[in-house]
């Protein structure tokens, strides 16, 4: 069998949501490798992609241990189909232009930084350790992407136009970062993952600070896209996974 079904508990689901978001976002960033607007950004985007990939690996390994079915990080990454993925939709949207990539990186990192800060106090010691490392990485991602949001927002007419277009596309995907369902409530109550409410104020502050410098207006809080965290994705994720999973699917008996 090349496609597996994970028995989801609130904890494994919570971990998969984080791991899948990190992996899928890392994948999109890695698509830039060798094609960035300048060599320094080839390196920087690869850096962020590597940080996220590292986070995904640690989270998958932990999820597999919690599940206790003898699975590995690779089983979780390569042997689930799109409806089993739990990432937020924003992470899977196609690569887009540099403005889109940078703004997505910024929005996700502005959430990740306070999220990991709060998770560093998790009652789950493994998760707390992952969070302590991820927090430092997220701080760098906020800095790097935030600087570029400012440069592009307050750069040329074209860079501003592209940044506004990216903002218009991406903003409806930010709501998902703060959703809470029953599974979330269970792990929040257990002191394992933080309540998104805790993340909201520092997120607002980061967004407002950078947008102010970039000369961007924060969009009104309107209708928000939703679904990734419970497996209802965009049409893009299936194509991404088809490419990503091809080798282990084609040679299910091999180790690499």
């Amino acid at each position: 069998m090349t496609t597996i079904a994970v028995a989801e508990t609130p904890l494994t689901l919570g971990l998969l949501r984080l791991a899948d978001t990190a992996l899928v976002h890392s994948h999109r960033l890695s698509e830039w490798c060798g094609h960035a607007p300048m060599l320094e950004e080839d390196l920087a985007l690869a850096n962020i992609a590597l940080d996220l990939l590292g986070q995904a690996r640690a989270l998958y390994t932990h999820a597999a241990a919690v599940e206790g079915a003898g699975r590995t990080e690779d089983d979780l990454a390569y042997r689930r189909d799109a409806p089993q993925f739990r990432n937020v939709l924003m992470a899977e949207l196609p690569r887009g232009d540099f403005a889109f990539t940078i703004l997505r990186g910024f929005l996700l990192a502005a959430h990740a930084l306070p999220f990991w800060q709060a998770t560093a106090g998790s009652r789950d010691a493994t998760l707390a350790a992952i969070a302590a490392k991820a927090e430092k990485e997220a701080a760098y991602h906020v800095r790097h992407c935030g600087e570029w949001v400012i440069r592009l927002g307050d750069g040329t007419g074209e860079s501003r136009r592209r940044m506004l277009e990216a903002l218009d596309t991406l903003w409806p995907y930010t709501g998902e970062l703060f959703e809470v369902d029953d599974a979330d409530r269970a792990v929040i109550a257990d002191g394992i993952l933080p309540d998104p409410a805790v993340v909201r104020a520092p997120w607002d502050a980061t967004i407002d600070r950078v947008f102010a410098e970039a000369g961007l207006d924060r969009p009104a809080e309107g209708w928000m896209q939703s679904g990734g965290r419970w497996g209802r994705h965009t049409e893009h994720l299936g194509h991404l996974l088809a490419v990503m999973q091809h080798l282990p699917r084609a040679y299910p008996d091999a180790t690499w």
């Binding site: 992996l23 994948h27 890695s30 698509e31 490798c33 060798g34 094609h35 960035a36 607007p37 300048m38 060599l39 320094e40 950004e41 080839d42 390196l43 690869a46 850096n47 992609a49 590597l50 990939l53 590292g54 995904a56 690996r57 998958y60 990080e73 690779d74 990454a77 390569y78 232009d97 540099f98 400012i150 440069r151 592009l152 307050d154 750069g155 040329t156 074209e158 860079s159 592209r162 490419v243 990503m244 091809h246 080798l247 282990p248 040679y251 008996d253 091999a254 180790t255 690499w256």
Partner: protein
């Protein structure tokens, strides 16, 4: 003339030449050509391996490959910086690459067709690169030598990683072993060509040896590479695509068959499987990134202006 003799004396005494030192124009030209060609190779070399990042078969391999390709970008940066100490700008060098005026290593005009190619590139291409580069750690131009020391350390790590991928494949399923063999078949001869034309035809060797930019000839390095690599391949249980390959017990060297220099010249002339695509990929990235670079400049100018204005106001108050 006196300067020239003194320069050669310093070279002969194994002194490092530094950016502000006097150097012959031809020495400078040769170095710019060689360093920038090397930098371009690192940049173009990101493409064939980058082709497998999204398809790496495990997360561990994906992370290693992404880090490796990133290292190559880093090498490109050091090398452009080393070239800039000789009085050219990175923009000029990049323009030469994109216009086709500058060369890059022809090996990157071959495609990566299976995952085994990622192993073969690490093992063979990085292996050949290291053979070329270890002597460059002692090359006469200081900034170049120092860049190479750092690069060599990372390259040998990549080479071991590549060999480890090959080893895993060769110990894996029959399909994996076949993939590894196929990759060796395709990469072996191009890897041998990486050392450049035979000494009998090499244009630049003699002068470069005198200036200690080079320390071994193409053929010497090629032989070193074959001697180091063949036993590794045999250990993998693979067959080299060369019926003439045999060990010469008298010299201790592995003797190999005739290289198809016709293919080498053809690929160099632009007729390899991927020449067109590699340059187009670089051109596209450069063109599509123009607005980003302009925005960064515009924003920097605005910030400078604001700082200057603020300083004026403070001074005026």
């Amino acid at each position: 003339p006196g300067r020239l003799a003194r320069f050669q004396e310093r070279i002969d005494a194994e002194e490092r030449i530094e950016p502000n030192d006097w150097m012959p124009a031809a020495y400078r030209r040769t170095l710019i050509r060689q360093i920038s060609q090397h930098a371009h190779s690192e940049i173009v070399g990101m493409l064939p391996e980058g082709n497998w990042i999204t398809r790496a078969p495990s997360l561990r391999r994906k992370a290693a490959l992404l880090a490796k390709v990133q290292d190559e970008g880093g090498h490109g940066l050091y090398l452009y910086a080393a070239a800039e100490t000789l009085g050219v700008t990175r923009e000029e060098l990049v323009d030469q690459l994109l216009s086709g005026a500058a060369k890059y290593s022809s090996i990157f005009n071959y495609p990566t067709l299976t995952w085994a190619d990622i192993g073969a590139i690490g093992w063979l291409v990085d292996g050949a690169a290291i053979m070329n580069q270890i002597p460059l750690c002692r090359t006469s131009y200081g900034p170049y030598a120092r860049a190479m020391i750092r690069i060599c350390k990372e390259e040998s790590f990549h080479q071991r990683q590549g060999y480890e991928i090959m080893l895993t494949l060769c110990r894996g399923t029959p399909e994996q072993k076949a993939m590894a063999q196929d990759a060796l078949n395709r990469w072996w001869w191009p890897a041998l060509m990486m050392f450049g034309p035979p000494d009998s035809e090499s244009q630049h060797t003699a002068q470069s040896m005198r200036w200690k930019i080079k320390r071994f000839t193409n053929d010497e390095l090629r032989q070193k590479f074959v001697d180091a690599t063949v036993p590794q391949g045999l250990y993998l249980g693979l067959t080299f695509p060369d019926p003439d390959l045999r060990f010469d017990p008298e010299t201790g060297h592995w003797r190999f068959g005739a290289i198809d220099w016709e293919e080498f010249r053809r690929v160099l002339a632009g007729h390899g499987p991927c020449n067109r695509e590699r340059l187009e990929a670089r051109r596209r990235a450069h063109a599509e990134g123009a607005w980003v670079r302009e925005a960064a400049l515009a924003n920097a100018a605005k910030r400078r202006q604001r700082t200057a204005y603020a300083a004026q106001r403070i001074a005026a108050e």
